[in-house]
């Protein structure tokens, strides 16, 4: 199994990944509270970027409404915890089921009735907006006044109830990001990975080669939704407050797709690199401006915009592919 996963992976790439993992593992020992929270954010965006990449990067289905899955996942686990004291790990099952169902509903509507391309993207936005407005009036989860999780000063980490230090959340997120990376690597090399990319490149040709378009695209949407819901659960228990206006907002959907776009759509490493660049640099810039005494609101957004613009203009495939060529890690392409 492991031998199969490693087959054909360049040695240097493996060594670099191991070094990166080691670095991320020891990072909390040196990082203060603020840096640790930046590290958590980077891993969070790397994870959701990877999940989104399955749909868009692999299968070519553009979702602009992934905040739906983050929000549904977050609300399901948080509400079960607040109302019934259920562990988030139990709530997780509900979150995954709910998001898989939501993904399946969107996928069914789109793929059954031939909604494709831009119209598919609009459909995903529409569902996220439904959820935002619906949850604003959903009294059981306190509507627009927000759902809060009880917070205390935790002396010990309670992994079962996800109550504890930022360090615990950091390692949890690291585990999830690493897991998602390995999963996506395995998927890309599997039959369905080939089928997704075939559909992305030409649906007609893919279908003529015997690929069931509906089923194959459904798997991508449901899997991506289920993976994203996991991030939602962590989000809820890390921040301890949920507002429909924030979590379901379209800006959240856009924010989470910037990483893979900047890093390289459809690549494994792209979402990681993109999350590191965007979050790391945006936070770093914020700190720099603070130190210089410049206080301009919205500077982070402007920076995001400029980054995106530069990448689109000069690196249409994202930041990672040219780096991979430089490092000679793209053995498959040559």
């Amino acid at each position: 199994m492991i031998g199969r996963l490693l087959e054909g992976v360049p040695r240097r790439g493996l060594a670099m990944l191991a070094a990166l993992l080691a670095l991320l593992l020891v990072f909390p020992a040196f990082a203060g509270g603020y840096l640790l929270s930046v590290g958590f954010l980077i891993l969070y965006f790397a994870y959701v970027g990877q999940a989104w990449n399955i749909m868009m990067g692999f299968a070519g289905q553009l979702s602009l409404g992934h905040s739906l899955y983050v929000g549904l996942g977050a609300y399901a686990a948080a509400a079960l915890y607040v109302h019934f004291g259920l562990s988030p790990w139990v709530g997780l099952a509900a979150s995954i089921a709910l998001c898989a169902l939501a993904g399946a509903a969107i996928g069914f509507l789109a793929f059954r009735f031939g909604v494709a391309g831009v119209y598919f993207a609009i459909l995903t936005i529409a569902f996220a907006e439904f959820a935002r407005i619906g949850f604003d009036h959903f009294a059981w989860v306190r509507g627009s006044s927000g759902l809060f999780l009880p917070v205390a000063n935790y002396a010990e980490n309670d992994l079962w109830n996800l109550r504890g230090s930022p360090r615990m959340f950091y390692y949890l997120m690291l585990g999830m990001t690493a897991g998602a990376f390995v999963l996506c690597h395995a998927l890309l090399r599997s039959r369905i990975g080939y089928y997704w990319r075939a559909i992305r490149e030409s649906p007609e040709a893919a279908q003529a080669l015997g690929i069931n378009l509906f089923r194959t695209k459904m798997v991508a949407v449901v899997l991506s939704a289920a993976m994203t819901s996991l991030a939602g659960v962590i989000f809820a228990f890390y921040y301890n407050n949920l507002f429909p206006e924030q979590i379901f907002h379209i800006s959240r959907s856009i924010e989470l797709i910037l990483g893979p776009i900047i890093g390289g759509i459809g690549t494994l490493v792209g979402p990681l690199v993109g999350a590191l660049l965007l979050t790391g640099l945006a936070e770093g810039l914020g700190e720099l401006l603070l130190a210089l005494g410049v206080d301009i609101p919205g500077v982070k957004q402007v920076f995001y915009g400029i980054c995106l613009l530069l990448v689109v203009m000069f690196l249409p495939d994202g930041v990672w592919p040219p780096i991979a060529r430089k490092l000679k890690l793209d053995a498959r392409r040559r």
Binding site: R191, R200, Q207, G210, I211, R333
Partner: protein, 239 residues
């Protein structure tokens, strides 16, 4: 093997295919010819499941296949190429063919092996790791054929794969089809304008004009048929 019976299809009143009937016997190579707009590609798309017929039946190996989706038709054992080539441009040439091979072998490494064999056969072996987007048109046509062959079809539908090829390249690919037909009993139905390819390959020719079959039979008889000469080949054509 393939039995097309009174097939009809209209597009908003334009009768693209009208009451077309013909048979493709097992192990045969049959040519489908006719002027532009005669309904040849529509016929292919009806057989391949891209379009559903308004009327008529299509049987493959005795089993009705009209109204099936393209992927179901492919799984039933009919492979096809596209007249306007549709490579998976972002994938390597090998991966293009692997996608086809994965239909019959679920295991990726077995599919890769099978794909490599087919590419060797079509002279694409040296280009395995190139991106499909970098191929020239003749190679893209070969890739269409390789991909379709990788699905291990019993019947192969070829839509103008010789168009744009030089005569020597044409002869190479004709030799490949002959070999596949003889050695593996592959049945072939081909649309083709290159008459030298049709004459070299086909044991039977079906001629379409204005969506109707105006002649069918042995190649040497069909090319002397006055109706065929008038509408398609022209009086002076030497074959």
């Amino acid at each position: 093997m393939l039995d097309v019976d009174s097939l009809s299809k209209s597009f908003r009143g334009l009768r693209a295919v009208q009451g077309v009937s013909f048979k493709v016997p097992q192990g045969a190579i049959v040519g489908l010819i006719g002027p532009n707009g005669a309904g040849k590609t529509t016929c292919f798309n009806l057989i391949a499941g891209v379009l559903a017929p308004d009327a008529g039946r299509i049987a493959f190996g005795g089993r009705p296949i009209q109204g099936l989706r393209p992927d179901q038709v492919c799984a039933a054992g009919i492979g096809r190429t596209f007249q306007i080539v549709k490579p998976f441009a972002g994938l390597t040439v090998l991966d293009n063919v692997v996608v086809g091979a994965l239909l019959r072998s679920k295991d990726v490494s077995a599919a890769k092996k099978h794909a490599a064999e087919i590419m060797e056969r079509l002279g694409l072996g040296a280009k395995a790791d190139m991106p499909a987007s970098s191929l020239t048109l003749p190679d893209r046509k070969r890739l269409e054929v390789a991909r379709a062959l990788a699905t291990r079809p019993k019947l192969l539908l070829l839509d103008e794969v010789m168009a744009g090829l030089r005569p020597t390249e044409c002869d190479q690919i004709i030799a490949v089809f002959r070999e596949l037909n003889r050695a593996e009993g592959l049945t072939i139905l081909l649309i083709e304008h290159v008459m030298r390819a049709v004459m070299a390959l086909a044991q039977k020719i079906v001629v379409l004009h204005h969506g109707e079959v105006i002649a069918q039979g042995a190649p040497q008889d069909v090319v002397r048929d006055p109706a065929v000469l008038e509408c398609y080949l022209g009086e002076e054509t030497e074959v």
